[in-house]
């Protein structure tokens, strides 16, 4: 185990922690920008440090294609190759294959796929994935899991979950650098609480440095999403980091943090930047809109980032989707926003004002009080009273009854008319 995870503060299930990795000491909850090919699109390493970025995610599949993990290893690892002095995480490569290559096929041996280079059949085994990730040298590496779309049902989910458990043992025995790289296991099991429970227990038995909750953020309904997160965080050890994979909407991060998750990654902030969308406390700001052409304000007057200190919406309007500078500046702001959100979560938990933070966040996102049902439901479980953020008509606790969960004891009569 090459990490230390110290919980510094809590509010119910939410926790603020110090995560000490070989290359950097991070504060959780934290958001990890996705740097697919050994770079975050449009930002220099200095800029990433300036906005407070702690961990960058690299995609094993892409890095193995170009420049190749062997070359990265020969040149001293990815940290050195891209000159990033803070922490790195690599995924297993499996998810990328299944999602990018429709010809991928999963067998007990591994993931077979057609090489995008020469079309020949290739095989990514758990051993190979770990070998590549050992070459790349990230602080955290991910086990190869059997990824199934959350929207799929039936025996395939069960097969994938058991296979993920069998593969974790192959990953553990293939892992050559446990003293400098932390192997995280991934909880699978679709939306089935029984399968998720078996997987959580199976992984916890292996005493891994950290655990990820996989198979989410794939189009499942939000109520199912938070329930899986809540179930997994409840079953995972207190003294290990918990990473919800592929989650990146600010609202989802706030909810998952309230439920006891610590780490997140998503391409959303940088991808949406390229389409001209900025993240703001109220939600999103579409800079392409005509109204922006004459708007002399910064993206977010409350944002202390370089972009908001220097540039107006009017100027960004004429850059976005036309000039590289448009996506550079919006990516910078959007990642700054995510970093600030991470810091706010950490500090508010640490300083004992997490519920106030959540309520403030929701009030700004939903000024009309129309907080979605699923958020409401999740917050009940997280033990955070958000009733003042909701208009009475939106306080639809009866929806919970539809799902068969009795929350009456969490629900004072004054809140639910």
């Amino acid at each position: 185990m090459a990490l230390r995870f110290e919980v510094l503060g809590r509010f119910n299930r939410a926790r603020a922690a110090r995560l000490t990795l070989p290359h950097f000491t991070c504060q959780t909850p934290l958001f990890m920008p996705v740097g697919t090919q050994g770079t975050i699109k449009g930002l220099t390493t200095d800029q990433l440090e300036a906005i407070g970025c702690q961990i960058i995610l690299g995609n094993t599949y892409h890095l193995e294609l170009r420049p190749g993990s062997q070359l990265i290893d020969d040149l001293g690892g990815l940290h050195k190759f891209m000159n990033w002095k803070r922490a790195l995480l690599t995924d297993s490569g499996g998810f990328q294959m299944v999602s990018l290559l429709h010809l991928a096929d999963i067998t007990e041996e591994g993931v077979t796929f057609q090489s995008p280079v020469d079309g020949k059949p290739m095989l990514l085994t758990p051993e190979e994935s770990i070998h590549i990730q050992n070459n790349i040298g990230a602080d955290i590496i991910m086990a190869l899991d059997d990824v199934v779309k959350t929207t799929i049902t039936g025996p395939r989910i069960e097969e994938a979950m058991y296979r993920t458990l069998r593969w974790i043992d192959r990953c553990i025995s293939a892992h050559k650098k446990p003293d400098v790289q932390n192997l995280f296991g991934i909880v699978q099991g679709g939306l089935d609480p029984v399968l998720r429970d078996i997987c959580v227990r199976g992984l916890v038995e292996r005493n891994l440095p950290g655990y990820a909750i996989g198979g989410l953020a794939g189009g499942e309904d939000k109520d199912s999403f938070w329930r899986v997160v809540a179930q997994c965080t409840a079953g995972l050890p207190e003294d290990k980091p918990r990473y919800v994979m592929g989650v990146g909407y600010p609202l989802d991060i706030v909810v998952c943090s309230a439920l006891g998750a610590d780490m997140y990654d998503c391409v959303y902030p940088t991808r949406t930047a390229r389409f001209g969308t900025a993240l703001v406390p109220e939600g999103v700001l579409k800079l392409k809109q005509n109204a922006m052409a004459t708007d002399e304000r910064p993206i977010d007057p409350s944002c202390p980032c370089m972009v908001c200190k220097n540039y107006t919406r009017a100027y960004l309007h004429c850059l976005v989707t036309k000039d590289p500078m448009g996506s550079q500046l919006l990516s910078y702001h959007n990642l700054s926003f995510m970093m600030r959100l991470s810091r706010d979560l950490h500090m508010s938990i640490l300083e004992g004002r997490f519920p106030e933070f959540v309520r403030g966040f929701l009030r700004v996102q939903f000024p009309k009080g129309d907080v979605p049902k699923w958020v409401h439901n999740a917050m009940e479980v997280a033990g955070i009273d958000i009733s003042e953020c909701c208009t009475p008509t939106n306080c639809q606790h009866d929806a919970m009854e539809d799902t068969g969960v009795d929350i009456s004891e969490l629900c004072p009569p004054t809140k639910c008319p």
Binding site: Q37, G38, T39, I40, K41, G42, L43, T44, T45, D46, Q47, A50, H62, R66, P67, L71, D74, L75, F81, M82, N83, A293, T294, E296, M306, V307, K309, N310, Y311, T312, A314, Y315, H317, C318, L319, K322, D323, P324, M325, S327, Q328, L329, Y332
Partner: protein, 396 residues
């Protein structure tokens, strides 16, 4: 704006070292105006720009026609002009119309009412009144008048028309300018005709202008005629006002321009290098050239630059230029840049623009030092010979 020539080179060349002061900023000349796209260098926001050496990097060339599509003049004006909109309060912004990337002058579509430009949103006709509206909302530190630029190959009649129109539009611009030309630069055109060049330069010199922008180069003229044309123009211009030449970008072209008495250069050379994956590596001063004697790295490129896309840099962990102090060279290897270019990541262009700009600013600094030391002729000669021997070595 204040400008003073501090030293004129002895010998044949007319190279001169000067000092340009605008507001609280002052820069020595000859100097490079960084090319921009909508006011910022293509890949450098204000924070990245601040990593470049000062005051060398204070000069930016901005193109008014980049703002035709917006923001609206009133908005730009309310924001406080370009300095505020770009987050560059202390930079010196020099506005000139027409640049080859996104606002190429199209002489065949220009008419007596205005100049025409090829822009990403189609061809635009810009009248002096439109132009001055842009200028007054941008509030640049210096601006060149609207010009009817023509390529070298147009006939005598068209060339003459270009001079007539450019002079007429200069008068129109000054008449429309609230500051009555206090920050205006008169444009000198005249194509490949020595006679028209002289006529234009002489006429512009009679106007109330703060300096001169010499246009119509880099549009198909030959090297020999360019030298003569440039000298003919500078001979007709008063010596106490600054001279900018447009689109002379290659190191050799810059040296020729300096030798003809040019003070400021605007060109998209750095941008074009950057987009091509090239990094400048030539030795910028005489000491470096002596040290480099015999050691020629011409594996890919032409000895002034290397193409980092070449597979030879795949595992090259050295810096682009060993002695370079720019952000890129201090932090990244050729191998990393090669990778970024291979996978089409924008960081490649960001890092290359930083290095190339930094390198070219150092080259200009060496030119200024050579002039101040009275060694410009030697510097120029040595540079050209060094290039020639490198090309010869590369061929062998």
């Amino acid at each position: 704006m204040r400008f003073a020539v501090k030293k004129i080179c002895a010998g044949g060349a007319k190279a001169r070292a000067g000092l340009l002061q605008i507001g609280s900023s002052s820069v020595e000349t000859p100097a490079l105006l960084l090319s921009t796209r909508k006011g910022l260098p293509a890949f450098m926001s204000c924070d990245l720009l601040s990593s470049l050496p000062l005051p060398d990097s204070l000069l930016l060339n901005v193109c008014p026609t980049h703002f035709i599509e917006g923001p609206p003049s009133k908005t730009l004006s309310n924001i406080g002009g370009l300095h505020r909109m770009l987050g560059l309060p202390d930079h010196i912004l020099v506005a000139t119309a027409g640049e080859p990337i996104e606002s190429l002058p199209s002489s065949e579509a220009s008419n007596k009412f205005g100049a025409s430009f090829e822009t990403p949103s189609g061809r635009k006709l810009v009248k002096p009144s439109d132009y001055m509206e842009l200028i007054s909302s941008m509030k640049p530190d210096l601006w060149a008048s609207l010009a009817d630029e023509v390529p070298a190959w147009v006939n005598e009649k068209r060339n003459k028309t270009s001079v007539d129109r450019t002079l007429r539009w200069l008068d129109a611009c000054i008449a429309l300018d609230a500051a009555v030309g206090a920050n205006g630069l008169g444009v000198v055109v005249g194509g490949s005709s020595i006679e028209q060049r002289k006529l234009c330069a002489t006429e512009v010199s009679k106007r109330n202008v703060s300096g001169f922008w010499i246009g119509g180069f880099g549009l198909g003229e030959s090297v020999e005629e360019r030298c003569n044309l440039l000298n003919a123009v500078t001979d007709c211009l008063p010596s106490e006002k600054p001279r900018i030449v447009s689109r002379l970008g290659l190191p050799e072209e810059v040296l020729e321009g300096v030798a003809s008495g040019i003070d400021l250069f605007d060109s998209t050379y750095i941008y074009q290098l950057t987009m091509g994956g090239f990094a400048l590596i030539f030795p910028v001063d005489m000491v470096e050239r002596e040290m480099q004697n015999g050691v020629v790295d011409s594996s890919a490129g032409d000895s002034t630059k290397i193409n980092l896309r070449a597979t030879t840099y795949r595992k090259d962990t050295s810096r682009i230029v060993d002695s370079c102090t720019c952000f890129t060279c201090q932090n990244h290897t050729r191998a990393y840049l090669n990778h970024l270019l291979n996978v089409h990541e924008m960081l490649a262009q960001i890092l290359l623009e930083i290095h190339n700009t930094h390198h070219y600013l150092r080259f200009f600094r060496s030119i200024r030092e050579a002039i101040k030391d009275g060694e410009f002729d030697l510097f120029w000669k040595q540079f050209v010979e060094n290039r020639r021997s490198q090309i010869a070595a590369a061929v062998l």
